[in-house]
């Protein structure tokens, strides 16, 4: 599938960085929803250098490992990256196991015991066909798929086996040029935590992968995005200068989704982009009922994916921090929480670390002390209005 990337503005620095990392490592790429992860992957697919063979696969809707393997295979076939005829090893395995059956039979229960074997053979076949190249399999929404295996389809063992099998593949075939990007809006650490706490999983299946985070855009890219959206939506801007664009970017912390949303709202209201309309629109989104600003997922992801106690403390911490514009000493946060409930310092540290890892908070370290504040000022304002 060829993607049109004329709308994927900026992110060149990020693409370059990921390609550099991929030379040696597979990647876990995390960020909040709507940060542009999928666009980034599509940009890699559309602009990759010749020595890289990328494959983009989105897997949120897969309900079992065998379906995942089947779709991976189908996708490789559709992209012309693998053919049964040319792929000797895979073909041999295929003949022995499900000989004579159509490949779609892999969906049937009879294929269930064979999915791991099939996955290995597919990778072997792929490496054989694409000899000398680095194959990058970009799996979008991978953590959500695993989370659903565990929580919805009760396939805990299968989830663990898939994680482990993929690790084994990276280790066995990594030298021959196979790389993965696991990408997702919920951190894969959330899934592993679930497995560790509720299912006694003790492995460290991702410690060979490079952890990368997709953050807001750099200001240059953000401005490019604004210019692009203004042009394609044919919206007027007044005054038409860099300051107005700068103001828009800053007012939404250069978050691409909010840049797009603000411009959409201004467009729908048939207004023009000006310092005043930007200010009004940002304010309106922060104050609006009905999740117009789509901020709710920042609270929902805590209630959905965090353990109950951890979630409660996280909410209290964020409620309080939303009233602070500047960095706050970790000790001060502990004192605030300790004033409300009996709590260990270690627990507070753990919560803050998690919120930092999960991109809610920004952190700085000064003379060995940790200080925290909201990562995005836009989110802080919304949080303060609603919970602060």
């Amino acid at each position: 599938m060829a993607y049109n990337i004329s709308n994927i503005i900026g992110r060149d620095t990020e693409v370059k960085k990921l390609l550099r990392v991929l030379e040696t490592h597979s990647i876990v790429l995390s960020s909040h929803r709507r940060m542009g992860k999928t666009y980034l992957l599509k940009k890699i697919k559309a602009t990759h250098p010749d020595n890289i063979v990328p494959l983009f696969l989105i897997v949120e809707g897969k309900s079992s490992p065998e379906e995942f393997v089947y779709d991976l295979y189908r996708c490789l076939q559709e992209e012309g990256l693998i053919t049964i005829g040319k792929s000797k090893r895979f073909h041999n395995w295929y003949e022995k196991t499900i000989a004579g059956q159509e490949i779609k039979e892999m969906k049937l229960p009879s294929f269930r015991p064979h999915w791991k074997e099939a996955l290995r053979k597919i990778i072997e076949g792929l490496l054989e066909e694409q000899k000398g190249k680095t194959i990058v399999i970009m799996i979008d929404e991978f953590p959500i798929m695993l989370y659903k295996f565990i929580m919805e389809y009760k396939l805990v063992n299968e989830a663990v086996e898939l994680i482990d099998t993929l690790r084994e593949i990276r280790q066995v075939y990594g030298d021959r040029g196979i790389r993965f990007i696991f990408c997702g809006s919920i951190g894969i650490n959330v899934v592993l935590e679930k497995l560790k706490k509720s299912h006694n999983y003790a492995g460290e299946p991702l410690n060979d992968m490079s952890m990368e985070i997709l953050d807001a855009m750099n200001i240059g890219d953000a401005k490019k995005l604004v210019r692009h959206l203004i042009e394609v939506k044919e919206i007027s801007i007044e005054p038409d200068n860099d300051n107005t664009i700068d103001e828009l970017c800053k007012s939404v912390d250069s978050l691409p989704f909010y840049i797009d949303l603000i411009i959409k709202e201004i467009d729908v209201n048939q207004s023009i982009i000006s310092p005043e309309s930007i200010k009004n629109e940002v304010e309106r989104l922060i104050l609006a009922a009905g999740n117009q600003g789509q901020f709710n997922h920042y609270t929902d992801r805590i209630s959905t994916y965090y353990e109950k106690d951890m979630g409660k403390i996280s909410r209290k911490t964020l409620n309080w921090l939303s009233t602070k514009e500047n960095f706050v000493d970790e000790l001060e946060i502990f004192n605030m929480l300790a004033g409300q409930q009996k709590i260990e310092e270690d627990v507070v540290r753990g919560v803050l670390k998690k919120l930092f890892d999960d991109l809610y908070l920004d952190r700085k370290i000064n003379r060995g002390k940790r200080f925290y504040k909201f990562k995005y000022n836009l989110l802080r304002k919304w949080w303060m209005v609603n919970f602060g």
């Binding site: 709308n7 989105i58 949120e60 779609k104 394609v232 048939q270 999740n291 117009q292 709710n296 929902d300």
Partner: protein
Amino acid sequence: MLIFNSKIEKPGYLEKLLVGRKKTVNALEKSVITGAKYYQNIQHLVIGNRGSGKTHLMRVLFNRISTNATVTNKYCIAYMAEQEIGVDSFYALIISILEAVIRWNDDLAEKKEWKSKIGVLKEIRPADREDRAKEYILSYLGEKQLLILADNINGIFEGMKLHGQARFRDFIQQTDKINIIATNRSLFADIQREDKPFHNYFHIIHLDPLTRDETKELIIKLTAIEASPELTAHLNTNKGIGQIRSIHFLSEGNHRLIAMFFEFLKADIKSNLTIPFLKTLDRLKPYYESFIQHLPPQQQKIIHFLALKHQPQLGSAIAKECFLTPGGTSKQMTELRNKGFVDAHRIGRDNKYELSGPMMRYCIQLTDGRNGIIGMFVRFITVLFSDAEIINRYLKLKCQLKEGCDEKHDYKKQAEEVLIYEKAGENQAPIGHLRKHIESIEDEGTKSAMVKIMMKLRNLHPNCPIAEKDCTCSQLLNTNTDDDPVLKIFIIKLVSCSLYEDAYKLVHYINSNIEGRSEENVTTSIFFIKCLFKFNTNPEIIEGYLNKLLLMPTDGLTKKLISVLLESRFKGNEQTVYNLPKDERAILTFICEKGELL
């Protein structure tokens, strides 16, 4: 009947009747065109209540874009107009999409070919259908993109369940070819919950109810289509204007209800609105019942209870009266809110709930006895009939409170005159224009005094020197108006407009003119208080005045409303407003909007 069906009505009519939604359709159309030009993804979800014109809007959008070559060269349009029943999987959705594309395709050969392909899908094994259907749709699209226009998308999402939604989302992301413009009655869990595939996927556009002016515009357009000169003339009379306002109030700016009211109004323009109202209720009853019938029994019970209770109810009261557990009630209320049946207002840790639309409540109450409905309706009409009626009522109230007043006095003319000033003031008409009106009044007395005042203020507005303003306004404020309450209000209004920032003078004036005057009626006093709000004076002073107001003689409803206002605005307890039923809240808002009463 002109309660049109958007799906079969002529495009021209639909465009003409697109009141209050033009901006939204234009924006959506622009989004599609720019999407076609610049490969922009389109993901809009339009949210609006039942009867708020969603289908109408989609049909107009479809009519426009399906005849625009820029769009059709880039998109295949699948217009799924409320006919997508039975979509229970992603595969079924693809079939519906294919059928929708074919339905609106004029190429008969192509239609035949794709119908036969859908036929093939029926013959192959279930396990293979989805993949084959995806192949078909992608081959049908070729280089084009797919634009899905879907009404009530929640039905489709519910049918597909989580698994189908996730597969649909995967398909969208994987192919980069699918665009959606959808509508729904309310926001729903499948787009709101973090763990759902379409969480925050859509750009949400809320449809607001029609404003009073838009309601008028719609009724006038409906009248024009009907080509009824008698009705057109009637709508320009005081009674007609009052009826339009009442229709707006009762329908809460809902297109469908306005159209229904209009039908009955045109049938009998000479009657008051009671008969059209009851006929509308009769007609709406099965319509609302059809929605309620499909709800689980517990939710039906809650709706019935809320309808008969009239006032918003606490969740705990609903649980008790409907024999439900608190947890169960909370779940049911959330579902009813998501379905758009119920509004909630947070009161402390609990919520107060009421039915979203008053018309549904009236329809349910209709079963329990028409008398109550008529009584309620008469009260609406009394309050909302027309500007002149309101002012008449206000003047009567003043007069009754004044000793020795002649109750048989005809206030109509006086009321109309006040109305002229009000309208001029609202529109910020030039003073000269206002003067023309005033000079046309023959009588002396109040009117001539008003003319003089207008002349004095003519030079003050808007940028005259402060000293001059001070001097003129002081003179005006010192005018003896003890015997002429209308003149008094008039002066204060003008002065407060001219000297908006001069709080001190106004407070001083109120102190010296209101305190201890037993003949001051409540509406005059409220007006002073409103001036006080504007000047943002010490809250204690304001509260003091309001407390005095409560001691003054006035009618029951007004007193009740003032009391609520006092509680809500000055004791920082805005929730007390929700002790009032929705219709009385609307009256309160309406009164607040009317300068002469508040």
